[in-house]
Symmetry: D2
Subunit: 324 residues, 4 copies
Amino acid sequence: MKTRKAGIIGGAGYTGGEAIRLLLNHPDVELAFVHSRSNAGNPLHAVHGDLLGETDLLFSGEIDNTVDVMFLCLGHGESKKFLEQNDIAASVKVVDLSQDFRLGETVKDRTFVYGLPEANRDAIKEASNIANPGCFATAIQLGLLPLAKAGLLGEVHTTGITGSTGAGQSLQATSHFTWRANNISTYKVLQHQHLKEIRRTLQAIQPAFGGGIHFVPVRGDYPRGIWITSYLDCKLSLDEAYALYEAYYEGHPFTHVSRKQIDLKQVVNTNKVLVQLEKQGDKLVIHSIEDNLIKGASGQAVQNMNLMLGLDETAGLKLKSIVF
Amino acid sequence: MKTRKAGIIGGAGYTGGEAIRLLLNHPDVELAFVHSRSNAGNPLHAVHGDLLGETDLLFSGEIDNTVDVMFLCLGHGESKKFLEQNDIAASVKVVDLSQDFRLGETVKDRTFVYGLPEANRDAIKEASNIANPGCFATAIQLGLLPLAKAGLLGEVHTTGITGSTGAGQSLQATSHFTWRANNISTYKVLQHQHLKEIRRTLQAIQPAFGGGIHFVPVRGDYPRGIWITSYLDCKLSLDEAYALYEAYYEGHPFTHVSRKQIDLKQVVNTNKVLVQLEKQGDKLVIHSIEDNLIKGASGQAVQNMNLMLGLDETAGLKLKSIVF
Amino acid sequence: MKTRKAGIIGGAGYTGGEAIRLLLNHPDVELAFVHSRSNAGNPLHAVHGDLLGETDLLFSGEIDNTVDVMFLCLGHGESKKFLEQNDIAASVKVVDLSQDFRLGETVKDRTFVYGLPEANRDAIKEASNIANPGCFATAIQLGLLPLAKAGLLGEVHTTGITGSTGAGQSLQATSHFTWRANNISTYKVLQHQHLKEIRRTLQAIQPAFGGGIHFVPVRGDYPRGIWITSYLDCKLSLDEAYALYEAYYEGHPFTHVSRKQIDLKQVVNTNKVLVQLEKQGDKLVIHSIEDNLIKGASGQAVQNMNLMLGLDETAGLKLKSIVF
Amino acid sequence: MKTRKAGIIGGAGYTGGEAIRLLLNHPDVELAFVHSRSNAGNPLHAVHGDLLGETDLLFSGEIDNTVDVMFLCLGHGESKKFLEQNDIAASVKVVDLSQDFRLGETVKDRTFVYGLPEANRDAIKEASNIANPGCFATAIQLGLLPLAKAGLLGEVHTTGITGSTGAGQSLQATSHFTWRANNISTYKVLQHQHLKEIRRTLQAIQPAFGGGIHFVPVRGDYPRGIWITSYLDCKLSLDEAYALYEAYYEGHPFTHVSRKQIDLKQVVNTNKVLVQLEKQGDKLVIHSIEDNLIKGASGQAVQNMNLMLGLDETAGLKLKSIVF
């Protein structure tokens, strides 16, 4: 019996599509409407072809203020505008997937909790508005949270590789198949915008952390998934480090510590994060992986909704991995 | 509440792994054991790394005869041997994923129903033993069944492209990444073994069908999914053909007719088949697509189990597509 | 010593780029200019990044009528316009890579020879204007020419799979990496425009050939290369068929008959075509493969230039395959 | 006129195959023999299918001591054994592609010069034996040499991504297409064996360099090419750094400095290296890219041969990039 209702604002993009897919199969929440100005009146499957046979729902040009929660799947800068320009009932909880509110920004009377359950679960449960973390930010933070809590974070060196879905569905030179297939390139080296929200979280936990995270983002040659390798000076032995991480993630349903070598496809098409450690000399190496569109976006958004609505945190998120 | 129990024989391969993934999330059926001689005692996630955090179940060297159903995920020829050499209780229903029983073969007292629900649903519901169809066979037949029922099948020309998972997990020259990436090749041209089961089904429906199916199987440059394009002489207009197909698949929960151009990723990681038609001159063109490991193997096996056990046909099979 | 000069009209696209790459390394021909309206004044490597370090040549807004040959690397319809609107000296030979002149069309006093050396070498040597064949057309014809010459062509069924470069560099939904990676789709099924030039060639050789070629074009999941599998009724044994093909292609430097199974990457980044045969029952199966941008476009254009200018047919075309 | 002769020992693997491809088209050097114990008597194209139509040469079980140079394309440890166990004439120059002699090791009377022309050209010209650098080692060093020469090297952080050909042609779990497609993983993090030869070169140039290179090697999802991003503290402005690099690589025919963003496919299937710089705060970022089998192996081996034999350094190495 579905007892709650959700709406999606901006349902034609990648994160909107993933939110639709997750909510259609959610046991407790009904997908009440999917708003899209440009597609109003068209069936969802006209835009998201894989939904053919799944639903006959149409995109709506109207916003229904009776839902329990709205997901804002809009471009950066668009969420703030949307909330300013539309009357969204105070009773409606908001999960915003843009970066508009991740650094403490507010709009009207809405203040936002940063929606990383592994750091902020209790605050999320009490929240009315969630700023859903960035995709790189999620995977990097989940690799570093246990160290921050133990006060062990120092200067960090991070490599991150992302699938093409991270760049959205707009057509651009770097998203052309002919160009991107079998290709590698980097962007925003040492200056990625997610570093701000990462530092904000980590410094809240370990105030003495200087914030030095040197991050090399790489465009990978595949559609889905983020691979992160971070390393830093650390005096813990490998066993001590594993013990620290396993204790931290005990009871967190989506983040798991692996004592075996991991590879990205263990988590693609799921809401999971896997973390693996290595020790080389004085350096602790932390690998962390996720699906950028699920735990890195729409799946974490549903996880946050579950927490805000008092539902089972994993409801609707037991997903079959693609694995191969 | 899980009221039924299932076991898997041969859980270390691709189809065994997919059967595990589907049954772990099945609402009505408990995965009681996964049998593997070589892996007995190891956790499932030691072989299937994506299951880390999903289950602590171990591979078993024992067979539990109290289950309701067993899935045989063994190599061709191995299923027959297994049933000959082991005492499987008569009360245990069997779904065999090999090709050992697809052409009417029997073993001990077990006779097998061909498990293509879109052709044989009523017989499947009454069956105790299912011969699960081949992957190419499923997609090709679902493109042709409505024509056979209307007595319109003539000589058919078929192209089929399969992902690398169709070849299993053994290491061989044609499964080496360096070789297969960006490559195309064919195999068993005009002589694929699935043609036998296809002809058997179609001739049972349209006895006058001569059985001419000229099939070019292609090794594709991707892991999952089968694309089929068939064409044949047909006097129906495009609208008449669509009407025929839509009427046939009305009420079948996993096979849908698309009036828009389809592409393979609409169905990857789901149990769905999409069928699209075109008419060029006197030729009717039928495109049909599936995930070779799900509707083409383990998903259809679960669908058959659901039917045999009197469960909702779609239980455990509402899967999120990979789509991107 | 480079004794001849060539110019390229439309050097910013894929076929223009490949023509540049081939001519820069040509032993006998100097690349005199590369014309591009939109890029005039920019270095070639500003558009074709791989040319950095190869040449400092700039795109030109001027046309130099003193060259021996011009390559027209323009969109379909644009070549005819270009020759109508510009004064190209009668002394300049033209190789047109569009489809504007493949069916006997003329412009001003220019008549065009269809530039398939394996069919028309002598005519090409005497020609002043070449209509360079289409990419699919080249591979399909090279699979059928020996049969046509022997008068053995009947109704043909053909599957063709092409890399994404076949669709050019414009950004479109079907060229988005996220969409095309791991995906398969078809287009222009049984109605591809190349069928006209294929029938024209084959009927000139075997006038009784009815022209029935049923062609299923497939969008492949890789950038470069075309795979063709054709089959037809044929009374020749496999050995007789191989003997026919080997005799036909004796002395043709770029088309070779393989008695072993072939795969696409044997020819990618070369001007070669490989042909392999199989016999199943009454059917002869012919596989033929090429690089769509080289033998299927710019490489064949250079081959035609070599023939027209009396140079070694293979000059500048001894290319290292990518192979892996 | 080919005036010199070369032989290849171990011609069945990836680097042996690339050496064959390069030497077949070399203007001055004849490929006299390709030795392979397991393939003796078979045509080269039986192993390297792309060579069909290029050569009828057979693998040889004999070694011809009259050649000018031998390329050892053997596994690590095998080169030393080969030279110990076989009588190779003192007049035969050796280019060894393994890591057996990169750190100053000797065998019989042979001492080896490290074959990185951008660092050691003069010594290479005088050498009789070359230890050809490792693939990662080449790309990393070419990104750092100008800094070492200027005495500016400090602690370096490096990410490196390699195609699957870097792992050779043996079948293993991590080279299975189904596993590696769309996947990312790391190996030998902070402990890659190439670090030794890198430090050796750099410390010879800048003795005060402490040798700190923290290297994260990544398995990429494509067959060919290495991407390197290194960064370190550096007081040079971006312009000063570019000036330093451009001055260093002036006159080096295969290494070029790009002031525009680079991407891997600019160099795939060529002997080129491109280097691009960025400055972020106090950090200098250096991207360097190569084809791991050409500049990272067989192409550099031919370049070294050219230098040793007094030929044009670029002879046989003007290669068409794959680019798409």
